[in-house]
Symmetry: none
DNA sequence: AGGGCGCGTACGTTATCACGTACAAGTGTC
DNA sequence: GACACTTGTACGTGATAACGTACGCGCCCT
């Protein structure tokens, strides 16, 4: 077996076990949820076998994830998560001002922030890495103005009053094409916590 | 084999073939690049077999992609937009109007809603049972006016711009003592455990 | 202490993956 | 037209995934 294969198996196995335990499930519980047998799950977690895509998808579903998300939990390990200390208040890029409305406390299940973009401004630079941990989801509401969400190779034009929900662990940014100022509220739900 | 499994296989196969042809490679060319045999690649592309993660990773690498990227090319877009006109609206008690800004989809990690309380109105009646599942947390931001949060035997007065976070599975309600109208945004994050 | 239960893993069996070989069909060159 | 080459797929075989059954271990209750 090639090294790359071993790396593949090693990564998904411990991750599946960590997620399963975080959800307080036994092997038999997850077997019931996913449709994959408990002994098979045990082998996968211990890295003894490489499941097929069909089985891996079912395991991911049992953990309330898509398979690409499950894989991403290990692949994106080089992405750093930037926390409140750097983005508490003030400006990001030129023309971008934000405030974080929720306290930096352990009990926060989601983070709420308000962003103001001057015409032509954006929340980040082209090609910036994702700023949130794997598994995070984000909701954004456009209060005033128009913004464009650029994410994962696609662009979505949003008008005042529109709401968008997306995977916050994919590289993304909001741009204000103008002409007026744009205000949006963002809610980021925590990703799947690691052990 | 379940339909979901079939959908999984159907998706990656045509995608692999499309990418291979776009790169002007034959099955034998890709076999050489990926380390997976040409007959196997043919079977995968035709949906005749579900490759293991180890093999699928090698196929993705031969196409200059990570496996999560290959999978994401077929997954439904994780971005969900709710237009201003699509908000779900309702009225609670007299003087209380609300709109739900997020879609009623499984991928929603949190629900975002906007509430308008006329002077003297409240979001619920005295002693109403909690409306959220155990473990839920809620964040509320007062946009305009003044509201009082009554929860667990205590009362908290909130002014425009204030944010409050609390356990949403405790009986609670927001009251508008007036004199003006009060507007607040609420974010409810799902509980910790699901049955 | 004993019994029952939950949990994770060993093991045997079956199904399927993954490969190597070979065939059929199409294309290009002489 | 004949030949060589490329390409995709059929088929047989070995390896391994995937399952069902059962065991060992630890914990809890009586």
């Amino acid at each position: 077996m090639a090294v790359a294969d071993q790396l593949d198996q090693i990564h998904i196995g411990p991750r599946v076990r960590a997620l399963r335990e975080a959800m307080d499930l036994s092997l038999r519980d997850l077997a019931e949820r996913s449709g994959v047998s408990a002994p098979m799950l045990s082998q996968v977690e211990r890295g003894e076998t490489s499941p097929t895509l069909a089985v891996a998808s079912r395991i991911a579903a049992g953990l309330e994830l898509r398979l690409s998300q499950l894989l991403r939990l290990d692949e994106e390990s080089s992405v750093s998560v930037v926390r409140c200390a750097e983005r508490r208040r003030g400006g990001g890029a030129a023309g971008h001002a934000f405030e974080i409305l929720t306290p930096p406390l352990p009990g926060q299940r989601a983070e709420l922030s308000r962003h103001v973009l001057a015409p032509g401004a954006a929340t980040g630079g082209e090609g910036d890495p994702p700023m949130h941990e794997p598994g995070s989801r984000e909701i954004a509401v456009v209060e005033t103005g128009t913004v464009t969400l650029a994410i994962d190779g696609s662009r979505h034009e949003l008008f005042a009053g529109d709401t968008v929900t997306f995977d916050a662990d994919l590289a993304h940014r909001f741009e204000n094409p103008g002409p007026g100022e744009a205000v949006l509220l963002a809610v980021v739900s925590a990703g799947l916590r690691r052990s």
